[in-house]
């Protein structure tokens, strides 16, 4: 029922006065895809979304929906449905009137409007509340009205600007599922802006990671998590141990790097999964996720095993974090699933830490 859209951003730059908010951005968002812009605040993700919606026009570059150039088309002619961070519900209208607004603008007749609004309100489970004033609704309900209002116009593209950031944790989980369900049901191309990596990883088909107005990496959640292209992505998504390293020797199936902080050499498998692309002049970082770090009181066999002292054991419920001091300037974290009290290490215990050579990732330092 929807005409689905491809969103194509090419060579987009947006400046506000002297400040460059977005620079040299190229993105292709596929039909029906759930695409997430992820990044810290001020990274340019919302600016990009607003250029897709038409609230900003790019300083340079082209915005296309399918093959239509939309770069300077005013927002009311783009047929996008946007859900705002603060929901932006019209305070003087009821739930029904809010949802019907877009249809009224499109001059749909009364009967058709009524069916469609009732229909979508049912979808977001708010049909009981149609005649309520929006101020009488809870946060989660307001969020669903905003969603219904954006969907009911059958937009080519659904735009979500940090829609869950004003909700509490439990409601957030619920709404996450709700948004996904509706997106799959309507198969709308969706752009989702968030700074919450868990949201991004769990919901998205693909993610674009932003920092300082530049897109750092585009990929599926597993690619982003397992094969970050630089230290910013590695550190921003998930937890990681990050150490500066220098390349000692390549060739063969392994490469060897030296970490000054560790004072030792580290062996890494020479595969694309373990070694990101980098140039001659790049500074390098070694990233290893805490869940890949092995800690034991017994000596491991094989390479990349270093002695240390347990500094702190942090119990979080499902997982146990073990902080191991390798030397005065370096502490590594290892995370294991909770296996019961007998497996917790004692603080002050002398242990061995193993960094598996197939779990390490070598990345270049992100350029600014």
């Amino acid at each position: 029922m929807n005409q689905m859209s491809i969103v194509h951003l090419s060579a987009i730059t947006k400046q506000f006065g002297k400040v460059t908010a977005v620079e040299g951005l190229d993105l292709l968002i596929k039909e029906g895809e759930f695409f997430t812009f992820l990044g810290p605040s001020g990274c340019g993700k919302t600016t990009t979304l607003r250029m897709v919606a038409g609230f900003y026009y790019p300083t340079k570059g082209v915005v296309k929906f399918n093959d239509r150039d939309m770069t300077t088309v005013p927002p009311e002619k783009r047929n996008t449905g946007m859900v705002f961070q603060n929901y932006a519900l019209f305070p003087h209208m009821t739930v029904f009137e809010n949802v019907a607004f877009g249809l009224k603008v499109r001059k749909l007749n009364k009967a058709e409007t009524k069916t469609r609004v009732t229909d979508v309100l049912k979808k977001v489970r708010l049909d009981q509340y149609a005649d309520r004033q929006v101020s009488q609704l809870s946060g989660g309900q307001q969020q669903r009205v905003a969603l219904a209002r954006a969907i009911v116009i059958e937009p080519d593209i659904l735009l979500l600007d940090e829609p869950l950031s004003n909700l509490d944790a439990r409601l957030r989980d619920e709404m996450r599922a709700e948004i996904l369900r509706l997106q799959k049901e309507y198969k709308i191309t969706t752009i989702y802006v968030t700074h919450d990596q868990v949201e991004a990883l769990t919901m998205s088909d693909r993610i674009a990671v932003f920092n300082f107005g530049r897109c750092q990496q585009v990929g599926t959640p597993t690619e982003i998590y397992n094969e970050p292209v630089n230290d910013f992505v590695a550190e921003f998504i998930g937890e990681t141990n990050l150490l500066p390293v220098t390349e000692v020797q390549g060739g063969g199936e392994k490469r060897t790097y030296r970490s000054e902080a560790l004072g030792r050499e580290v062996t890494v498998n020479d595969t694309p999964l373990n070694i990101a692309r980098y140039g001659e002049v790049d500074e390098l970082r070694m990233s290893i996720r805490p869940e890949a770090v092995e800690v034991s009181v017994n000596q491991f066999s094989g390479p990349n095993v270093y002695p240390g002292t347990v500094k702190n054991v942090q119990f979080t419920g499902a997982a146990v974090h073990t902080y191991v001091e390798m030397n005065e300037g370096l502490t590594l974290v290892g995370t294991a699933l909770n296996q019961g009290p007998s497996t917790y290490l004692r603080e002050g215990a002398d242990v061995f830490v193993r960094l598996p050579e197939d779990q390490i990732r070598i990345v270049p330092k992100a350029g600014v």
């Binding site: 927002p75 946007m82 932006a88 305070p91 954006a150």
Partner: protein, 562 residues
């Protein structure tokens, strides 16, 4: 190429700028120009006359205006701030009731208020004479008039500015700040002087500046009470009556300079970073007064204050029931009936001023309403070069004393100009609605600004995103949301326009004489009853408007913010 958004801003700005330039800037500049003319030739003679030895009266009047204003600030603050502190910090029987009564002076239009004070405490006033008769004195024990009269009226009418700012500052003050100070070992005295008072200062300074400006501009009180005492706003009127328009222009310029420098100072002061913090869930915390002696003392003070505050209103009501010719040589009025009110309906001559005032105030407010919304929208929601300048231009009529606004219009429109479509406006019906429009524009723009600033940009964007064009969004989203706020501002402007005296007295003609002028006429003819009845109409209108605002518009406005 201009994009659609910029084109729209431009389209919006053109009428706004035309009106402001035509009816605010041009008249102001015209007055400035006129002040440099002496017998038609360009010279500094007028300023020499003002500051020179030839006419001491002018310089004396300027000096009088300044110190009267300073004393007005002091007295208003001394009444308003303690009252606010007591009503906001202590819980005792009747507190809410008293705190509502405390703002009653604003219900009294200035001319009517001054009149009530005259008949209450003046030479022939009811109170002094009652005391005289009760104690069998040979002469009245006290009477107000001249300086003391002006100061008392100013303190009475202006202390609510302090009361309201201090009340709202105290209400917004997070009680945990004071609790934190106590917790750190400060005693009550220290807490007040080191925490509470410094946090109130920004509000108090703003109120002081405001009261200073209002009392520099004050016209009605000196007009009726001054006797031989001269203040600058009155001097302008006298110069105009004596036909010396060039001197009136010079005096206006000097009064304007004082007022506008205060406006700029106030803007600067308010734009400084203040101490307000956004803390959530501020709960009122009032200490219960448990000591019975203290408690009942407070209640007594409350009741006494209430009587003093409401006496002018009561006097006005009483006087309005005194029929013409029945209170001449007697100490107290003797006959009471509703003649003054019935005459409104059966005597066209009596009804006419009321009709004039209502029509002219309505016309002015219609203009202010429409124009105010567009101006405010441009100022709050659009970005353009020179925005700050436009903002100042809108606020000029607010900073200028009413007398000066009146003079500006006289000097601008007593000859044909493009802004009056080549006609002379002075001496016609239209000059007064125009004067009211200029006078009360800032009020409506300010109240509209306040609601528009609350309206998040994303609301408009959401409508646009759903396919609505700009004008559709403006009509269906922006206007309905801001309407309660704009309406309450416009209604306020309406009642003030109905009672407006200083510009009316400079610009009225026999054909369009408004209520305030007729009050003055009736007073001259010693027909106090009819004058008071006119006053009661104004008080009644104000009461109705305040009721509507708080009952209907207030509720709606709050809801739209939720």
């Amino acid at each position: 190429m201009l994009n659609a958004d910029k084109r729209r801003t431009l389209l919006l700005l053109i009428p706004v700028i035309l009106v402001l330039v035509g009816y605010v800037l041009y008249p102001t500049l015209r007055t400035a120009y006129e002040s440099f003319l002496h017998n038609g030739a360009f010279s500094l003679q007028n300023y020499e006359d003002f500051f020179g030895t030839k006419a001491r009266a002018n310089l004396q009047a300027l000096w009088n205006s300044v110190w009267i204003s300073l004393l007005s600030v002091l007295f208003s603050a001394l009444i308003g701030i303690p009252l606010a502190y007591i009503f906001n910090r202590y819980e005792f029987p009747g507190r809410r009731f008293f705190s509502n009564i405390a703002i009653m002076p604003i219900v009294l239009p200035s001319l009517v208020g001054v009149m009530a004070f005259m008949f209450l405490y003046g030479e022939a006033g009811l109170i002094p004479n009652a005391i005289k008769d009760l104690l069998h004195l040979s002469d009245v024990p006290f009477k107000i008039g001249g300086i003391s009269g002006i100061l008392i009226v100013h303190a009475y009418t202006m202390y609510p500015y302090f009361y309201m700012t201090a009340s709202s500052a105290l209400g917004n003050l997070d009680p945990s700040l004071e609790e934190a100070a106590s917790n750190l070992g400060a005693n009550r005295f220290k807490v007040f002087w080191q925490v509470t008072f410094p946090l109130l200062t920004p509000g108090i300074v703003a109120a002081s500046l405001l009261v200073f400006m209002v009392s520099m501009a004050s016209f009605s009180a000196p007009f009726l009470l001054a006797g031989g005492f001269r203040v600058l706003s009155l001097q302008i009127y006298f110069s105009k009556i004596n036909g010396d328009l060039e001197m009136a222009a010079t005096q206006s310029v000097i009064l304007s300079i004082v007022s506008i420098s205060f406006l700029l100072f106030m803007r600067w002061y308010q734009s400084r970073k203040d101490y307000r913090m956004a803390s959530k869930g501020i709960g009122a915390h009032r200490s219960e007064v448990s000591n019975p002696v203290l408690k009942w003392t407070m209640v007594t003070i409350g009741i006494l204050a209430m009587i003093v505050l409401l006496l002018p209103h009561a006097t006005l009501l009483l006087l309005s029931l005194v029929p013409e010719g029945t209170w001449t040589w007697q100490t107290y009025p003797t006959a009471f009936n509703f003649e003054n009110y019935t005459m409104l309906f059966d005597t066209p001559y009596i009804w006419e001023p009321v009709r004039n005032s209502l029509i002219m105030a309505f016309l002015a407010c219609l203009g202010v309403f429409v124009f105010g919304i567009f101006t405010s929208y441009a100022l709050v929601k659009r970005n353009f070069i020179g925005k700050n300048l436009l903002d100042i231009l809108v606020m000029i009529p607010w900073a200028l004393p009413a007398t000066v606004v009146g003079m500006n219009l006289i000097l601008a429109f007593n000859s044909p100009s493009p802004f009056s479509f080549g006609k002379i406006l002075v001496g016609t019906f239209w000059i007064l609605p125009l004067a009211y429009f200029v006078r009360f524009l800032p009020l409506v723009v300010r109240s509209t600004n306040a609601v528009l600033e609350q309206l998040d940009d994303s609301i408009e964007e959401a409508a646009q995103n759903l396919g609505a064009k700009w004008f559709y969004t403006f009509r269906k989203i922006v206007i309905p949301i801001i309407l309660p706020g704009v309406l309450s501002g416009t209604l306020l402007a309406f009642v003030q326009a109905v009672g407006e005296f200083p510009t009316s007295v400079l610009l009225y003609t026999i054909g369009n004489r408004p209520i305030s002028i007729e009050i003055m006429n009736q007073l001259r003819m010693f027909n106090v009853g009819q004058a008071a009845a006119y006053g009661m109409i104004q008080v009644g209108l104000i009461a109705i408007v305040m009721f509507i605002s708080s009952r209907f518009l207030g509720v709606k406005a709050e809801k739209s913010l939720g």
